[in-house]
């Protein structure tokens, strides 16, 4: 009786390990699965996507060429990370003052199902006026994320809703569209603002 139970546990254990290995493989290496993360985003000039901004204008990567760009992913049903990132960015823009008028600042939703153009308009209205909210069909969002080498994933919550795991870094691109650097979530302001300043300076040098 006891031996049988032990054998049973053993078999269950082997099964659990096999399942874990399979899940691990599926998440990392499955055919057509997400590219390994940690790669650099491609240049904006090499991206191809069509979205709509919070004022209803058609936008794409070409909209961003010609001025330095700060872009990041999030969703408006996000209670913690996204309002914090938007507040941080609003603070950085305040610190930069007039200089910040020279750049594109774009918040791209990873939750287009709930984040319609109207929703994005209302949400970005609470933060710095330079911040634009972009949304669009799920397929297009996937193309943006692919270009940025960003990831996002829908996760159900106990309340019956869902939340989104997503790349929380802020991406910085030069006016030419070249990817320059990113600001990690939690990066202190004394590092973030000079990074943005660097992208803005490159723009100045390019202009002269």
């Amino acid at each position: 009786m006891r031996r049988r139970a032990i054998l049973g546990y053993g078999a269950a254990g082997v099964g659990a390990v096999a399942l874990m290995l399979f899940v691990g493989w599926w998440q990392v290496d499955r055919p057509g699965g997400p590219e390994p993360v940690g790669q650099r985003p491609v240049a904006l000039t090499e991206m191809d996507f069509r979205l709509t901004d919070h004022e209803g204008n058609a936008v794409g990567p070409e909209t961003l060429i010609g001025r330095p760009t700060m872009a990041f992913f999030g969703f408006t049903y996000c209670p913690d990370v996204c309002p914090t990132t938007l507040s941080d960015i609003s603070g950085w823009l305040d610190d930069l003052g007039d200089e910040a008028d020279e750049m594109n600042v774009v918040f791209i939703t990873v939750d287009p199902e709930r984040d319609t153009v109207e929703t994005m308009a209302e949400y970005v209205g609470y933060f710095h006026p330079a911040i634009r909210g972009w949304t669009g069909p799920e397929k297009q969002i996937a193309r943006v994320a692919d270009g940025f080498r960003a990831t996002y994933e829908r996760v159900p919550t106990e309340s019956g809703d869902y939340t989104m795991n997503h790349t929380a870094s802020v991406f910085l691109f030069a006016a030419s569209g070249r990817f320059v650097t990113m600001i990690d979530y939690h990066e202190p302001r004394e590092f973030a603002v000079p990074k943005i300043g660097r992208v803005l300076e490159e723009q100045m040098e390019g202009a002269t």
Binding site: V37, T76, P79, V81, P83, T163, A168, S169, M182, D184
Partner: protein, 155 residues
Amino acid sequence: MKKYILTSTLAALFALGGLSVPALAGPEDVVVENAWSRASIGMNRPGAAYMTIRNTGDEPVTLIGLATPLAMMPEIHETKTNAEGVSSMSPAGEIAIAPGESVALKPGGLHAMLMRLQEPMREGDTFPLTLLFDDGGEVTVEVPILGIAARGPED
């Protein structure tokens, strides 16, 4: 505002102090500081509240849950950001606070996640949030609601 929080904390301590057994690390040893939250847009989105929970007693205390009339499902959640910069959020479970230690609920880490709001969170209002401990103790704080773009209790 600080004074208000302190006063409400004291009021809660007085109210509950008489009920708890002195031998247990009761809520009289728990002090909540700098509680704040952000206003919500409507009621469909979950809210979040932040604070520092300090155990001033000689015994460990364990926070096991939350209660508030504002939300049907208040829970302590934790945001984690991995090496690839991907943020995710999940229930934090029980939180033990050693004697003399404190736990900070702050943006991008632990937070009181307020799911299924019963009314919108309006800037300038406050709401009561009760912390439930494993020994049956409770501490209620009055949490001020700041603007949507608030970054901390001083904003």
